[in-house]
């Protein structure tokens, strides 16, 4: 057969299939999940929660990973795919809330409800929002650090970079609680540049040089705390300075066991994933949604680490999305 005939035949089939597939339909609900970076700790645990709950609810889940926090265009394309796939609801953790907003609103206009997850698209038309109480995470850090320091002394903060809402909430929760409950503790410095462990080391070294009488550190995330602990140990000051943090990666678990951390306040990431899926199913069935599901923070310290139920917090070590 000639090549040209082959092409003709192929395109005829293609057209036929295009028409047929429009008819195909199934009863089962399909939920889409679009996240920025599935390989990072937070999103791995979040995806785990969504997936487990989807198995329980008996709905089909389509997981899409933009690949990195920076891949906005890729995420927008993937949401476009989910709209065409005519999923019944989409859970979105946005790479960038503002830039993903147009496509999210397009989904809503197409009759697909959107559940905002942790970093939601910046639209007021969300069916529901799932997140953690980040203010409370800061508050718990203040209470445990204040108590450990005996209610007096100087504290430095590694507060993450500007423009991250959750980091703002955590820092505010810490500052306001400290001012209200531990008036004799003063915050002497706040670093807004460090985001990684290496930057955390440098920032902490500088702070230790500048304030030799520091009694404690607030750190927004456990990676920064790991940097701070390294700097404190290098300076030989680990018996006099307390470090508090948020999140509970394996690194943070190790630091708690070793007594390097006084406490960490954590969010129920798996639990958020479960809630997100539940709200998505409700929205898909046209039932009434909770406008916002905010899961409370949990305090973990060396004493209760072994007994704390982590099944709602992190995915099992062997889980792969």
């Amino acid at each position: 057969m000639s090549f040209r005939k082959n092409i003709k035949r192929g395109s005829a089939m293609l057209v036929g299939l295009l028409m047929m597939s429009g008819i195909a339909n199934s009863e089962e609900l399909t939920i889409g999940l679009s996240v920025p970076a599935m390989a990072t700790g937070f999103w791995t645990s979040a995806t785990y929660g969504v997936e487990k709950e989807a198995e329980l609810a008996g709905v089909k889940l389509i997981k899409l990973d933009a690949g990195a926090d920076t891949n906005v265009a890729q995420q927008v394309s993937q949401i476009g795919d989910l709209i065409q796939r005519r999923v019944d609801a989409i859970i979105i953790g946005a790479t960038n809330g503002d830039a993903v907003k147009p496509m999210a609103e397009r989904a809503i206009a197409a009759g697909i409800p959107i559940i905002g997850f942790s970093s939601p698209p910046s639209t007021d038309k969300l069916a529901s929002y799932i997140g953690a109480d980040h203010y409370d995470m800061g508050r718990l850090q203040a209470q445990c650090l204040g108590t450990a320091m005996g209610g007096k002394g100087k504290v430095a903060m590694l507060s993450f970079i500007e423009g991250q809402i959750w980091a703002e909430y955590r820092a505010n929760g810490f500052k306001e609680t400290l001012a209200a409950e531990f008036p004799d503790i003063s915050i002497v410095a706040e670093n807004r540049l460090a985001t990684t462990r290496a930057q955390g080391i440098t920032a902490s070294e500088d702070l230790l040089q500048r304030f030799p009488d520091l009694g404690g550190f607030y750190t927004t995330i456990d990676e920064l705390a790991a940097g701070t602990v390294t700097a404190i140990k290098a300076a030989g000051r680990d018996d006099k300075i307390y470090v508090a943090t948020s999140n509970l990666s394996p690194v943070a678990q190790q630091m708690l066991t070793d007594g390097d951390l006084v406490c960490t306040s954590i969010q129920k990431i798996v639990g958020q994933g479960r809630s997100a899926l539940r709200e998505a199913v409700k929205a898909a069935k046209g039932l009434e949604n909770e406008p916002a599901v905010i899961l409370p923070a949990v305090l973990v310290n060396p004493e209760n680490l072994a007994t704390t139920d982590l099944s709602e917090v992190v995915a099992p070590m062997d889980y792969r999305p």
Binding site: F3, N25, M38, L64, A73, Q78, Q84, R320
Partner: protein
């Protein structure tokens, strides 16, 4: 060596020459049929429009790669140039309204010409020249965008951008029409205009081209300038889709673009280019990506599949090429 040039050019127009690049089309048809049968709604007209809406940036970047691969080069800076172009255009739109959009292709063109000068005039190897440009453009994009925050276009221009992105003519998204138009223009330029045809000569054998008095350096600047401008146009499409300049976006896109150009029949040894085949190849990659999004496979498994698919398509291209070579020799 001159014979080499003439055979490549002759092959472009012979029936076997056209067939030798059919790998991309075969892959495209096979993937479209396969996914349509396996996945509900994949073959819907709506999803066809969706894929056409998505494939523009990759297709334009691949077309640019095709131009520089034609003259034995390649350009790994296009992802960063795209990011910087989207930021400069977003900033310009905030200043001057929607016409600021022109800043994107202009930025791309300027950086592309610079690449061409580095490679053509100063004889810096393409990998070094365009790696330098990659870092320069990425750094500049982060600097002028308030440390990597997206630059949001606000007000009426934002609506104009999104209206363009979601607008359709006969069910074909405007962005796809723009992409097709650009492909047509580049095809006409390469095959019908003297400056374009010279690029085949330069890619076939730069030394011979120089000996017969072809302005080789100008050819390099032209090819890289075109590649940069096309990256700027890809930035326009991304701007219309998101309504924002994205300083951190486009990482790794240059490699997908090179893959699409090679699946589309470009030879890394230069002298061969077919915009039509590159168009099919870019569509093919987008169809596979969309298919993977549709199916509920793990995203990691999806990446493995994508890698294998590119390898198989490349292999198929090699096989058809070799087969035809033996046929023409007998």
């Amino acid at each position: 060596m001159m014979t080499n040039v003439s055979t490549t050019t002759a092959q472009q127009w012979s029936p076997t020459g056209i067939l030798s690049g059919a790998a991309a089309l075969i892959c495209l048809i096979a993937a479209s049929i396969g996914f349509s049968m396996a996945l509900p709604n994949f073959g819907s007209p709506g999803n066809a429009a969706n894929i056409l809406l998505q494939f523009g940036p990759l297709a334009l970047l691949a077309l640019g790669q095709m131009c520089v691969i034609l003259v034995r080069g390649f350009d790994i800076s296009v992802g960063a140039v795209l990011a910087l172009s989207s930021v400069t255009a977003a900033l310009a739109i905030e200043q001057f309204g929607i016409f600021g959009l022109i800043a994107a292709p202009l930025t791309g063109l300027a950086l592309g010409i610079l690449n061409g000068i580095l490679v053509g005039l100063l004889s810096i190897p393409p990998i070094i020249a365009t790696l330098g440009m990659l870092l320069f453009a990425r750094g500049l994009a982060l600097l002028i965008s308030n440390n990597g925050q997206v630059v949001l276009v606000t007000g009426a221009p934002q609506m104009q951008l999104l209206d363009f992105s979601f607008g359709q003519f006969l069910s074909i998204p405007y962005s796809a029409l723009l992409t097709f138009g650009v492909f047509l223009a580049v095809a006409i330029f390469l095959k019908r205009m003297r400056a374009g045809r010279r690029l085949f000569l330069i890619g076939g054998d730069p030394e011979a081209a120089r000996l017969v008095g072809t302005p080789v350096t100008r050819g390099f600047v032209l090819a890289y300038g075109l590649c940069g401008a096309l990256a700027g146009l890809a930035a326009v499409l991304i701007l219309t889709k998101t309504g924002a300049g994205l300083p951190t976006d486009g990482v790794g896109m240059e490699l997908n673009a090179i893959a699409a150009a090679v699946i589309g029949g470009s030879l890394l040894t230069g002298g061969v280019a077919s915009p039509l085949r590159v168009l099919f190849a870019a569509l093919f990659i987008q169809v596979v990506q969309s298919g993977l999004s549709f199916s509920a496979v793990s995203p990691y498994a999806g990446e493995v599949v994508m890698g294998l698919v590119i390898l198989i398509a490349g292999l198929l291209d090699q096989i058809t090429r070799r087969k035809l070579q033996t046929i023409t020799m007998h």
